[in-house]
């Protein structure tokens, strides 16, 4: 399977990555190289094989339903590019 520039543009938009025409020209063949390479998996029969999502084999523990953290708004905001009055600031979303 190979993908064209339009597909790359769409995927880039889904991934919230701005990409211009020159970037598409450069990126598309490299992505195709990778996709063609991973295509070899299709040759393998995996009927009746359960997907393996996690090898840890660890049973998740239940924690006690209690407050363990909080009251650290300053720390949460410490690295924000822009804040005001204890909030993160972003460009206007609603007109």
């Amino acid at each position: 399977m190979s993908i064209d520039k339009n597909t790359v543009r769409k995927v880039a938009s889904l991934a919230r990555l701005e990409i211009d025409e020159a970037g598409l020209e450069k990126m598309t063949p490299k992505l195709n190289g990778i996709l063609q390479w991973i295509e070899q998996l299709q040759a393998l029969n995996t009927d009746n094989v359960e997907p393996l999502a996690n090898v840890a084999n660890i049973e998740l523990k239940l924690r006690t339903d209690a407050l363990t953290d909080g009251n650290c708004a300053d720390k949460v905001l410490a690295n924000a590019p822009e804040t005001t009055a204890g909030y993160f600031v972003v460009p206007k979303v609603v007109e």
Partner: protein
């Protein structure tokens, strides 16, 4: 005092105990060496003030008879571990200036035991790479050179700063992370030892996430025993990481008895890959001979799905990365491009500018394989093949206790090589990536030099939670290999 930097951790701990030198002196020697080797670009940030403060506190603890397991030992910390108040970048522009307000569990464990932090070591951006050439803070240079050739070589990746720093004696040990080989391959390229433990052995809390089902932290050092000491401190259950294992941490160094009589060493035939240099094949054979001589039994095993491991990895890792890296939106932390005309535009510009080319490429691959219509064909398919790879190992471990393989298919290569073709670069991880997919512990150690004078490594892969056996077998290889070579620039002072 220069030779203080050539001690092993084990020797340094003894020297500190016998009052031959203080932790402050040991740290000062390393700070001086670190300055001398700045041209390697192994550190993104040096933290000499923190180091000296920690060292002075360590000396006080030792004087009071309260020294911890690693008290006074100066380490490099991969800049993927969040360190409270100290810039943590994952070698990405998007996190430049980010100062975590909390400490990663692994570094907190090391500090609990008295370790000293010299600085944050360089890496491939978001740990994505095999050559440390994708860092936004510049390439790391391997202290090793080919004989009679001054070309700069890569230190391997992604933990290239850590491996170069340990090899150059500008720290005694270092932390790394390994998602597809990022501890073991750089250890091999720099002639040092490193271990990726079983998935779940070290907490991932506070480690910048790349591919969560594969990421695992581990140490680098110059001897097997030093790795055992470091891992004992780093490992352990952490309620903050639901995938960390609630099982006791053994005294790994105590497992190094040197007795491997009757142990079964598996040699997987699928690890003989096309184009592998004859010297690596020879080194592998040498490793087999050493273990045989020590009384181990060699068993031929088969891991039939090995050739699918890299394609599986390059679906699963980018898929998980694209999800993990969705958090970098320029809102809560990190860099923001302010010229966006609306919120989406701000996200897109921030991410396009903040991420380097390899990271953007992997985000795109990951987003594509997870997108509607392709999820089953790629992602679920890869997870099915991942199970087959896992099953291969479990069958092999019915016949043997440990697997012996080469660590990487080549020695360190010149900076710039393999850059044109991402797939070619990915092949560096052909022997290591299987250990991540199956969650197994893998240890890499130097076994000798090739004809050009560069280190070559061997890898041991063990059963889940089989670290003790790995350390024991590695100790036997280490003794037989007697690897004492040093990069030319790093000779001991007379």
């Amino acid at each position: 005092m220069t030779n203080l930097t050539h001690l092993t951790i084990e020797q340094a701990l003894k020297g500190l105990d016998k009052k031959e030198f203080t932790a402050v002196e040991l740290t000062q020697a390393h700070i001086k060496a670190m300055e001398k080797f700045r041209s390697l670009n192994a550190y993104i940030v040096e933290t000499p003030e923190i180091a000296l403060k920690q060292a002075a506190e360590s000396d006080k603890r030792r004087a009071g008879g309260k020294a911890g397991l690693l008290d006074g030992i100066p380490l490099g910390i991969k800049d993927l571990f969040c360190t409270e108040g100290v810039q943590t970048t994952a070698a990405s522009k998007i996190l430049e200036g980010f100062k975590p307000q909390y400490e990663s569990t692994v570094t907190a464990n090391l500090f609990r035991d008295g370790a000293v932090m010299l600085g944050k070591t360089n890496l491939d951006e978001f740990a994505m790479g095999s050559s440390n050439t994708t860092s936004a803070f510049g390439n790391v240079i391997n202290p090793w050179k080919r004989k009679g050739d001054n070309t700069d070589l890569v230190p391997g990746g992604s933990s290239g700063g850590s491996s170069a720093a340990v090899a150059a004696r500008i720290c005694m040990g270092a932390t790394g992370t390994d998602t597809g080989g990022s501890i073991r391959q750089p250890a091999a390229f720099c002639g040092i030892t490193g271990i990726k433990p079983t998935y779940g052995r070290c907490s991932r809390w506070g480690v910048v996430a790349f591919a969560s089902s594969l990421d695992q932290a581990g140490p680098f050092a110059r001897t097997v025993k030093d790795n055992a000491l470091l891992l004992r401190s780093m490992a352990g259950y952490d309620a903050k990481d639901s995938t960390s294992a609630d099982r006791p941490v053994p005294d790994y160094a105590a497992a190094m008895t040197g007795n491997i009589k009757g142990l079964k060493i598996g040699v997987p035939k699928e690890y003989r890959v096309d184009g592998m240099p004859a010297e690596i094949e020879k080194m592998w054979q040498q490793g087999i001979e050493w273990l045989k001589a020590a009384g181990a039994e060699i068993v031929d095993v088969s891991l039939p799905h090995t050739k699918y491991a890299l394609p599986v990895y390059y679906i699963i890792a980018p898929a998980e990365a694209s999800s993990n890296l969705a958090r970098y939106d320029g809102v809560r932390y990190g860099q923001r491009v302010t010229s966006g005309k609306d919120l989406k535009d701000m996200y897109q510009k921030t991410r396009a500018e903040g991420f380097g080319e390899e990271v953007r490429r992997r985000i795109l691959v990951g987003t594509y394989v997870l997108s509607a219509g392709y999820y089953d064909a790629y992602y679920i398919k890869a997870q099915r093949v991942r199970r087959l790879i896992y099953n291969d190992f479990m069958s092999a471990f019915e016949k043997c206790d440990v697997l012996l393989t080469p660590t990487a298919p080549s020695a360190a290569f010149p900076i710039g090589e393999n850059e044109d073709d991402p797939v070619k670069m990915y092949l560096n991880d052909v022997f290591t990536v299987t250990g991540n997919l199956a969650g197994l512990p893998g240890l890499a150690l130097p076994a000798g030099l090739d004809a050009k004078g560069l280190p070559l490594g061997l890898q041991l892969l063990g059963r889940p939670w089989g670290e003790e056996t790995l350390f024991n077998v590695a100790g036997v290889i280490e003794k037989a290999a007697n690897f004492t070579a040093l990069p030319e620039s790093v000779q001991k002072a007379a």
